[in-house]
Amino acid sequence: MKKNIGLLIVVLLVVAMIGTYVKQQINEDRAIEKSALGKDMEEREIGLGNGDTPPDFTLTSLDGEDITLSDLRGKKVVLNFWATWCPPCKAEMPHMQSFYDEYAKEKNVEIVAVNLTTAERDVTADAKVDTVMTFRDSFELTFPILLDPDPNNSVGSDYQVITIPTTYFIDSNGYIQRAIKGPMDVDMLKEYVDALD
C-alpha cells in the first residue's frame, strides 16, 4: 500500500499543474481579447507595461550632455535607475560596465543609468553631484549617467521606481519589453538584451 502514496501525490501534482496551466492560458486569452478591442496596434500607449512606449524625458548627464530617451530610438536601451547608497546597485555596476565594454557596440545597445539624485543622502545639490561623480570614478563607469535632480518633476517617479535598482529593457522601436527589479549580472543583461528586437 505504501508504494502508492508517492505515486498518488505525483499524479495529483500533475493534475494540479495542468489545471493551473489551462486556467492561466484561458485568463491570458481573455486579457488579449480585451486589449484587442478597438485598439490599433500602431497606436501604443504611453505607460510602463510590456509593449508600452515609456514616458519620454530629457536629463543632463554628469558630463553636462542633454540626453533625450526618444532620441535613442533605433538602438536597444537598458534604462537603469539607481542610487549610490544602494548595495545591490553597487553590486550591479561592475557588471553593467563589463557588459557595456563587451557588447554595447556589437549588440547596438545603450546603457542609460538614471541616478535618483533627489534620493541621494547629501544635503546640498552640489554635494549630491559630487557623490555621484566619486561613485562613477571609483567604478570607472563609461556609460552615460543622468542626474534626476528635480523633486517636483522627477523621472524616477514617472517610472514609479520604488525598489532600486530597477531596469527597463527598451527595444530599438522604443517599446518597453521588460522591467527587472533587482541587480543583474553580465549573463542576465546579455540574456535580456538578446531577447530585444
Partner: protein
C-alpha cells in the same frame, strides 16, 4: 525555458527558475519522505544542501574579483551555469562517496530514480507555470514529462532503462524549448544519468540483485 519573471522577497530578487528549484526540492523531499524510509529523504536533503551551497558560493570561483571588491555580490549573484554544474558534480561526488553505506540496502536505486526523475520533472513543470514562453514549448514540456514521469514511476522497468528513457524524453522536450537541446537541464540530466548507471553497476558488483 527562458526565465521571464522575477520575484522580490524584500531586498532579494530571485529569478523564477530559482524559486521553482527551491519549491521542487521541498516537494521531492516530501514525496521521498512519504514513499520511502526516512534515510532516503535525508540523503536527498544532504545532496540538495551541498548543491545549494556550492552553487551559491561558486561565484568565488567564477568571479573572484567581484566578490573581493563587493562581498555583497555573494548575496545577489551566483556562479550561473558553471555554478549549477559544479553544484551537481560536488553533490554527485558526495553521493558516490557514501555509496558503500547505502547501496546494498533494498530500494536504494529506486529511491535514487524517484529523486532524480521527480526533481527534474517538477522543476520543469514549475518553470512552465512561473514563466511565459511559447505555448508550443510549454504544452510539450507539460504533457511529455507528465506521461513519462508517471509511466516510469508506476511501471519502472529496471533502473537503468527508466533513467535512460527519462533522459531521452527530456532531450526531446528540450528540442521544443526555446533554449534548445544544448541547455543546462539536459547536461545535468546526462550527469545524473551517468551517476545512476555507475551506482547501479557498483550495486550489482557488490552482489545486489538486478
Amino acid at each position: 525555458m527562458i526565465n521571464t519573471d522575477w520575484y522580490s522577497i524584500r531586498a532579494l530578487t530571485l529569478p523564477a527558475t530559482a524559486i521553482a528549484l527551491l519549491v521542487t526540492f521541498f516537494m521531492v523531499w516530501l514525496i521521498l519522505r512519504l514513499q520511502f524510509s526516512k534515510k532516503w529523504s535525508e540523503a536527498y536533503s544532504d545532496a540538495v544542501f551541498t548543491f545549494i551551497l556550492v552553487w551559491k558560493f561558486s561565484l568565488l570561483i567564477t568571479d573572484f574579483k567581484a566578490v573581493v571588491a563587493q562581498p555583497i555580490s555573494l548575496l545577489y549573484f551566483n556562479g550561473g551555469t558553471i555554478g549549477v554544474y559544479l553544484g551537481v558534480i560536488v553533490a554527485s561526488l558526495q553521493i558516490w562517496r557514501k555509496r558503500q553505506k547505502r547501496l546494498l540496502q533494498a530500494q536504494s536505486m529506486i529511491a535514487y530514480s524517484w529523486a532524480i526523475i521527480l526533481t527534474q520533472s517538477i522543476y520543469q513543470w514549475l518553470v512552465v507555470l512561473f514563466n511565459d514562453n511559447s505555448t508550443m514549448s510549454e504544452v510539450t514540456t507539460l504533457t511529455v514529462l507528465s506521461i513519462l514521469t508517471i509511466f516510469i514511476l508506476w511501471k519502472l522497468p529496471t533502473v537503468k532503462q527508466g533513467l535512460l528513457l527519462y533522459t531521452a524524453g527530456l532531450m526531446i522536450v528540450a528540442f521544443f524549448q526555446p533554449l534548445g537541446i544544448w541547455q543546462t537541464a539536459v547536461g545535468i540530466s546526462l550527469l545524473l544519468l551517468c551517476l545512476g548507471i555507475a551506482l547501479e553497476h557498483e550495486r550489482i558488483k557488490e552482489g545486489g540483485k538486478e
